[in-house]
């Protein structure tokens, strides 16, 4: 390491003050660089040896380029977050968290290998028994695994009424009718039949066909009947009237009417914003709201999505990760169901212009109280590097700090994984070691996943809430002195993945919150007064 100006001078000054020998000053190491925010945990540390099998063929069949997703959830109720990895051309893997960031593969014992060609995953307590269940989307048949509350699961797809083949991608459990039972939106990608799939080539090599080569396909909305079964309300709700090419979906309340809406990212056709009008009806308002197209009226290649109030104005904003050259979209909510794309002014546009985005999550990595952003990227076509010197298949992870009006891209201080390129798809955020610092799991296509552990570097104080497995639609408010912040707990988001359902509130330097309030769907409230930082609190709705 080279001795540089300022360091050299300060060292000389220190030497004079402490009367050390000049030799000592020159030979002593420079101050160590600040530790990275995220360290990469190797398989030797975590015990996670899973590697995704994409089923890559010379023919380059469309489903091969889509997966996988990943879920962080506590399947056995021991207070430690476990991880489920979706596989495509092989069995998926459930890893039980043993503590101390070590995991054990319990797939066989738990009975959750998945079936057909796995793509995505979500979790939800669909039967309200207090234990999170597992839902895996597939090219083929989806699988609903009911948690038996004894470390095992049972495939209940058929009896639940969810056995339907297709090319299913995003699954979002949300209670659209506020009856206390989580309903299910099931996103479908293109109308796909391998027998009629066109052959797309560069010279003598096959490549994945553009989604425009395929027709759109309707998605599904299922109503949870509260008895372990679901009824198909796709037509009566209006969802089926809008065929799309769904990759990402998030349920949130964009118009603050207490009814959960749905924002759906489509590839090569307009995005959908389904507004929940109550009584089981949704209106699609994407064009009028300004979230369906680019500023020039072009549909983009929407993949990952998320929602948050990034600027603290009390309105939920929407995010879409798009294809390279399209720039990703940050739709700022103007109120009255109008949005404007703020990707340019916030710096996200330029920072994402060269990448194709999948996993996306707003979360508060520095625990200062506002939501930052992490993005997992990779070109869909593994052969793109042979055709272009500008684009590569593997692309960098991006970590942005929310600075109010700007999102600032972090450099190497984010961690070594953020200086390398990855074939990333799914992304989930969760606290794997219960230290309050949010960790990240990246699901790579055709490769081993990445486990990124937050070292605590540069982060403020925190306070955790554990509202149980189905808090969607709840509103969390917390105050530090006079400053009140709000977070709406939404469902879905990212890409084919599910996050730790607990909520981590950033407190900055404060050692306690003045108060914390959870407003549950339906209006009941739970309030904590002066809860101390650095602890998780179990919160339940008042009886």
């Amino acid at each position: 390491m080279r001795l540089q100006g300022n360091n050299y001078n300060s060292r000389c000054l220190a030497h004079l003050l402490c009367a050390c020998s000049p030799f000592f000053v020159l030979a002593s190491p420079l101050p160590a660089a600040a530790p990275a925010i995220y360290e990469t945990l190797p398989p030797s540390r975590t015990g996670i040896t899973f590697s995704h099998q994409s089923g890559l063929t010379e023919r380059r069949r469309l489903p091969e380029s889509i997966a996988p997703g990943v879920a962080i959830f506590d399947y056995n109720g021991d207070g430690l977050m476990d991880i489920y990895f979706v596989n495509s051309a092989g069995p998926g893997a459930l890893y039980r968290n043993d503590g101390n960031l070590h995991f054990t593969n319990v797939t066989a014992a738990a009975g959750v290998p998945g079936r057909d060609f796995g793509l995505g995953v979500t979790t939800c307590d669909y039967n309200s028994d207090g234990a999170p269940d597992l839902f895996i989307t597939s090219y083929g048949r989806n699988t609903l695994y009911r948690n038996n509350r004894n470390g095992t699961f049972t495939d209940v797809t058929r009896e639940a009424g969810l056995e339907l083949p297709g090319l299913w991608t995003a699954a979002v459990f949300f209670d659209f009718d506020n009856d206390g039972h989580p309903d299910l939106f099931l996103g479908h990608f293109v109308d796909y039949d391998p027998a009629t799939e066109p052959a797309c080539r560069y010279g003598d090599r096959y490549h994945y066909c553009h989604p425009l080569s395929f027709k759109p396909h309707p998605s599904k909305l299922y109503r949870n009947q509260g008895d372990g079964t679901f009824s198909d309300v796709s037509v009566s709700s209006g969802i089926a009237a809008h065929p799309g090419k769904v990759f990402g979906a998030v349920s949130t309340d964009v118009n603050k009417d207490g009814l959960l809406d749905l924002f759906v990212a489509n590839d090569s056709v307009p995005n959908f914003l389904f507004i929940n009008r109550g009584h089981g009806k949704f209106d699609e308002v994407g064009l009028d709201a300004g979230v369906a197209y680019s500023a020039d009226g072009n549909p983009r290649s929407g993949m990952g999505v998320d929602a948050t109030d990034f600027n603290g104005d009390g309105l939920i904003d929407l995010f879409v990760a798009n294809f390279n050259r399209e720039r990703f979209s940050l739709y700022r909510n103007l109120g009255a169901l109008h949005f404007t794309d703020d990707a340019g002014p916030t710096g996200l546009g330029t920072a994402t212009q060269m990448y194709s985005g999948w996993g996306a999550r707003f979360f508060d990595f520095d625990l200062d109280g506002d939501d930052d952003l992490v993005l997992a990227n990779s070109h869909p076509d593994d052969q793109i590097g042979k055709l272009s010197t500008t684009l590569t298949f593997r692309e960098p992870l991006l970590l942005f700090r929310n600075e109010g009006a700007k999102f600032t891209l972090l450099g190497p201080e984010a961690g070594p994984a953020f200086t390398q390129n990855w074939p990333a798809r799914g992304l989930a955020v969760g606290d794997l070691d219960n230290d309050g610092y949010p960790d990240i799991v990246i699901a790579n296509t055709g490769e081993a996943p990445l486990i990124l552990h937050h070292t605590g570097q540069g982060a403020g104080n925190w306070l955790g809430l554990d509202p149980g497995p189905a808090p969607v639609g709840a509103i969390v408010r917390w105050a530090i002195g006079d400053k009140v912040r709000t977070k709406l707990l939404h469902a879905g988001g990212s890409y084919l993945s599910a996050h730790d359902p607990r909520v981590i509130l950033g407190l900055g330097p404060a050692t306690q919150a003045t108060w914390v309030e959870v407003q549950w769907p339906g209006g009941r409230k739970t309030r904590l007064t002066q809860p101390a930082a650095r602890s998780y609190y179990k919160v339940v709705p008042p009886q």
Binding site: G203, H210, L212, L287, D288, G290, Y293, A295, D296, G297, N298, P299, R300, S301, F323, R325, E326, R327, H338, T340, D342, G344, P345, T346, G349, T350, A351, Q353, M354, S388, T389, T390
Partner: protein, 231 residues
């Protein structure tokens, strides 16, 4: 930007170097969308005449159109060294840097282009439009407005300039003015701005004013025109 590209190709000065045949073949190949043949021809032309700014520009231009911005930058920078007063090369270098998501460098290159165009007494409204679109995408709306105003001064009948003016008015929340600009643009000849873009903007602007009948009318017109493939 495509009409500008076509115009540039049509109004090339006659090739004078030994790569004449190859560059002509390359242009013909591009015209028939045979990019492999075009790449080969332009690459060979540069090999035959490495000091030819014309051959170098065409190869860089080809890489730009082929979305290979890394190659385009290298080639266009070399072409700029060979012909530092050529605004056309400077313009495509600016567009390439914009494509590489380096807006500060692109802005500097646009400024150089504008200076060269002024020096050559060949002011080009399309340069202002391209610059304005980049600034708009960056959220630098007042700067974008400056460029659009200059484009409108140079060509008051520019459909592109009126469209960009309409977009700026829309972003400013002045929906009646946005409608007026887009309506003015619709009958003007297109250099690249499509009817689809204008109907899209008009539908949104009428919608924001609560005029659902007009919003629906323009929405139907917008949806009746297929979108181009972006990838």
């Amino acid at each position: 930007m495509i009409p500008l590209v076509v115009a540039l190709l049509l109004f090339q000065p006659p090739p004078v170097d030994s790569a004449e045949t190859l560059t002509r073949q390359g242009r013909q190949a591009m015209a028939r969308n045979d990019f492999d043949a075009a790449r080969t021809s332009f690459t060979q032309a540069v090999l035959k005449a490495p000091a030819s700014p014309q051959a170098r520009f065409l190869l860089g231009f080809f890489h730009y159109v082929d979305n290979d911005f890394v190659q385009a930058e290298t080639t266009l920078r070399k072409a700029r060294e060979l012909a530092p007063q050529d605004p056309r090369t400077a313009l495509f270098l600016a567009l390439t840097l914009d494509g590489l998501a380096r807006p500060a460098e692109a802005a500097a290159a646009f400024e150089v282009t504008l200076q060269l165009e002024a020096k050559a007494k060949r002011p080009n409204p399309e340069t202002h439009i391209a610059y304005a679109r980049m600034l708009f995408a960056e959220g630098r709306l007042p700067d974008a407005q400056q460029q659009v105003s200059r484009a409108l001064t140079l060509n008051p009948r520019s459909r592109e300039a009126h469209y960009e003016q309409a977009r700026l008015r829309f972003e400013a929340g002045n929906f009646p003015a946005a409608i007026a600009e887009a309506t003015q643009a619709l009958p003007l000849p297109s250099e690249g701005t499509t009817d689809r873009q204008l109907h899209f903007l008009l539908s949104r602007a009428f919608g924001r004013l609560g005029n659902t009948a007009k919003a629906d009318e323009h929405r139907r017109a917008f949806e009746a025109i297929p979108a181009g493939v972006v990838r």
